[in-house]
């Protein structure tokens, strides 16, 4: 198409003398937000994570409701109090909760543009998450050796489904953390600002919060109040 035809076409559109050039418009789309509230809300990546976590809330809500429903109905066969080792899991829980703190430190390092500290804390976070997963693996193998499996009874069914889905979320988080650590080491986050990193840290906090709920529900309450 020739330039003339293009000009003619533009004249034909006739969007008025106040029309915005589309390039300017797109620049304005990503203009820096004014208030802190907008800063959080209007960043697409962070917003994506918040909304995704909302949908996760529905998912875990359904699974947790199912667990509680069957607990309330009374369970035949081994139950949480008999089958689970509170102390052992409490130690591994400490690692997961601690990793929420270390990722916070990573966030701080990001703002301070300290690449080495950022990578360090990301790796520490990932290692602590990994320890938690290993702990979960040990717990699973003990239970399976005691013949407590998904198909044993309703406790096995709900326990393995709930903690299993949580474990999968931790593993997904570990992958994300590893990628972040790698990118950080390569200097991608030297600018002191990364929506992606913040979004991953929010995800990691969410996984932690869910575990706090699960730990309270499955371990603490049966052991001390059951």
């Amino acid at each position: 198409m020739s330039t003339d035809a293009r000009e003619a076409r533009r004249a034909e559109m006739n969007l008025g003398k106040d029309a915005t050039n589309a390039r300017d418009m797109m620049a304005q789309n990503s203009q820096s937000p004014q208030t802190p509230f907008q800063k959080i809300l209007l960043d697409p990546s962070k917003m994506l994570m918040v909304i995704f976590l909302l949908s996760e809330l529905s998912f875990f809500g359904a699974l947790i409701t199912t667990y509680l429903y069957y607990q309330a109905g009374g369970i035949k066969g081994p139950n949480a109090k008999e089958a689970l080792n509170f102390g052992q899991t409490a130690i591994f829980t400490a690692f997961l909760l601690g990793s929420s703190g270390t990722i916070f430190l990573a966030d701080r390092a990001l703002v301070k543009r300290n690449r080495r500290a950022l990578v360090f804390w990301l790796v520490v976070t990932a290692v602590m998450g990994l320890i938690f997963i290993v702990g979960q693996g040990i717990e699973y193998s003990t239970l399976i050796n005691d013949n407590i499996t998904m198909s044993r009874n309703l406790f096995g069914t709900t326990f393995f489904t709930l903690t299993g889905f949580h474990g999968m979320h931790v593993i997904a988080g570990l992958l994300a953390l590893s990628i972040m650590a790698l990118l950080a080491a390569l200097g991608d986050f030297d600018s002191g600002h990364s929506s992606a990193l913040t979004a991953v840290s929010w995800y990691w906090h969410f996984v932690d919060v869910v575990w706090v709920i699960l730990f309270t529900m499955i371990y603490v309450i049966p052991t001390f109040f059951g």
């Binding site: 034909e12 697409p44 994506l48 429903y69």
Partner: protein, 567 residues
């Protein structure tokens, strides 16, 4: 700037596969317009598949004690018909229009996450193909689209049908959640400068609200599917009564998804109607804030009404009444919308294009579906009509008489924008009348069949007085309806090849998608008009009578009306 082709010549209405990059340009695309078209075309394909399944069912039911289909074949067909129409036809066609027009209507370059958008589409397609692979593997699901345990558990379903069903839906479901997130973020972050959230065109608003329904409801389905799969493949006991599980719990979780799903399938249709009716009546949407507000009301109410699908499960009078009352309440925002559209037409100068005819028929057909819907909220009536053909009739009045009619209206309205060609009005009128007559012939009589005691999901029925003839009428209607779809497809093909060229704004409409070329260039807009109100192109056309100048736009002060300047 000059190296970017400003406006493509509308030589070929669609970027055909033979062009430059060929097939790869479709497979690898992250452009919301191509993805929107892919969504729509795929859903048309599945619509045809689901429609053919329905025709087989209607042949079987045409006469009493027919042996055309075995019970197993019939059960597989109605299961796949329901699943296909809901998850692979209606939902994706609405998501497809949303993906295509949300960025255009808000003056954006693309969706907020184009690659996520592409992932959503491919998850939808492969989820659908996985579901249909069950036919190839020889064990199609036969538990109904709801797939209640214990029927969907081993030993009652020994094949892999339920597993294909659950996996296929989980895959499409994850895609839909991602799509929902994308809609919300796009609407919140990518509006053109000057456009407030409440100034988005109504279709964009409903797509935006639909995003919340998608992210809120589909995880419940995914949770139910995960538990069902654990039962079937890992020997868990969630819904297996023998192992202490409670199959009723599945119903609760499924319908916590299932009822919001109904609104996922109808809200964007409301949005389409709110675009079509104002443009062809030549008036702005009457009471925008009430329509927008009632959409939000539906969003919240829809999560609190699901147990009206379980009134026969004996939940007890308190629960029954609570959910009955909540269900009746949802008639209020829906009624508001119907009256709003009537008031929009009132005092207008209505152009009865095919699009407008579909929109007008929606008003009546959807009202019928709404009235029968209210009768289900009235608990004692539900106790009689639940699981009968009365429900089948109601549901098709809502989903076909409602959503499908609105989608047809939207298709005739937006086809010129998407392809650069007008759909033929002559074929369109035939299409409309065949659809209208065929639809009513098929489904109206099913109300009566339900009232005289015919249950749903039966592969055949005894030769009782009146049953045979009424079912035969319904079957004939179904073929008429199928013929109308054929007429529509012919219209699309003919119009694509030699349809009248569409100008940029053939309907003289007012929203931003009409401020660019037909079809839009890859980057959507070269320039945007100033946005001061909900109808930027009206303001542009009548600088002395712009929307924001009129006082009645202030909801507190109305009554003062002003003649538009007649230029």
């Amino acid at each position: 700037m000059s190296d970017i082709p400003l406006v493509p010549e509308p030589v070929k209405p669609l970027p055909f596969l033979s062009e430059k990059e060929g097939l790869l340009s479709w497979v690898a695309t992250v452009d919301h317009k191509l993805l929107g078209i892919l969504y729509i075309l795929t859903s048309v394909f599945f619509l045809l598949v689901g429609g053919i399944e329905a025709l087989f069912m209607r042949i079987q039911l045409g006469t009493p004690q027919n042996t055309f289909l075995s019970p197993t074949a019939y059960n597989q067909l109605f299961t796949m018909h329901g699943t296909t129409m809901i998850f692979l036809a209606v939902m994706p066609v609405l998501i497809g229009f949303g993906v295509y027009f949300l960025p255009l209507q808000i003056g954006a370059r693309d969706m907020a996450f184009p690659r996520l958008n592409s992932m959503s589409y491919w998850l939808f397609l492969f989820g659908g193909l996985l579901l249909y692979y069950s036919f190839v593997s020889g064990s199609a699901p036969q538990g109904g689209w709801f797939n209640y345990p214990t029927l969907s558990e081993k030993p009652y379903e020994t094949g892999l049908g339920s597993d294909y069903w659950a996996l296929g839906l989980a895959v499409t479901g994850i895609g839909s959640v991602a799509g929902g997130i994308n809609f919300i973020v796009t609407a919140l972050t990518l509006r053109a400068p000057g456009m407030r959230l409440t100034q988005m065109p109504m279709f964009s608003w409903t797509v935006f609200i639909n995003g919340f329904l998608l992210i809120g409801a589909l995880p419940f389905l995914n949770a139910a599917l995960a538990m069902l799969l654990a039962d079937r493949q890992l020997g868990a006991h969630f819904f297996r009564v023998q192992g202490g599980g409670d199959s009723t719990l599945y119903q609760h979780i499924f319908w916590a998804f299932g009822h919001p799903e109904v609104y996922i399938m109808v809200l964007p249709a409301f949005g389409m109607l709110s675009e079509v009716i104002p443009v062809f009546s030549r008036k702005p949407l009457f009471g925008y804030s009430f329509v927008a507000g009632s959409t939000v009301a539906i969003l919240f109410l829809s999560f609190g009404v699901y147990a009206h699908h379980m009134f026969t499960a004996d939940l007890g009078p308190v629960w029954n009444f609570f959910f009955g009352a909540a269900s009746a309440l949802i008639a209020v925002p829906t009624g508001v919308k119907i009256f709003t559209w009537i008031a929009t037409m009132w005092g207008g100068k209505i152009r009865f294009t095919t699009s407008m005819m579909f929109a007008t028929s929606f008003l009546i057909l959807f009202t019928i579906g709404g009235i029968t819907g209210v009768t289900f909220a009235i608990v004692p009536i539900d106790w009689q009509t639940h699981n009968s053909y009365y429900v089948v009739a109601h549901m098709h009045y809502v989903l076909f008489g409602g959503t499908a009619m609105a989608v047809y209206a939207g298709t005739y309205y937006w086809f010129p924008k998407m392809t650069g060609r007008m759909l033929s009005e002559k074929w369109g009128k035939w299409h409309f009348w065949l659809t209208f007559i065929g639809f009513n012939a098929t489904f109206f009589i099913q109300h009566i069949l339900g009232i005289i005691g015919m249950p749903r999901r039966v592969y055949t029925y005894p030769d009782l007085a009146g049953w045979g003839i009424m079912n035969l009428i319904s079957t004939i209607g179904a073929f008429l309806l199928a013929f109308s779809v054929l007429v529509f497809l012919i219209n699309v093909v003919i119009s694509l090849i030699k349809g009248e060229r569409a100008s940029d704004n053939p309907w003289d409409a007012w929203t931003l998608e009409w401020a660019t070329t037909s079809p839009p260039p890859i980057h959507n807009f070269d320039q945007l008009p100033p946005i001061k109100g909900r109808r930027p192109l009206w303001d542009l056309k009548y600088p002395n009578d712009q929307d924001w100048m009129r006082k009645e736009n202030d909801p507190m002060k109305n009554g003062e009306k002003r003649r538009s300047s007649e230029e």
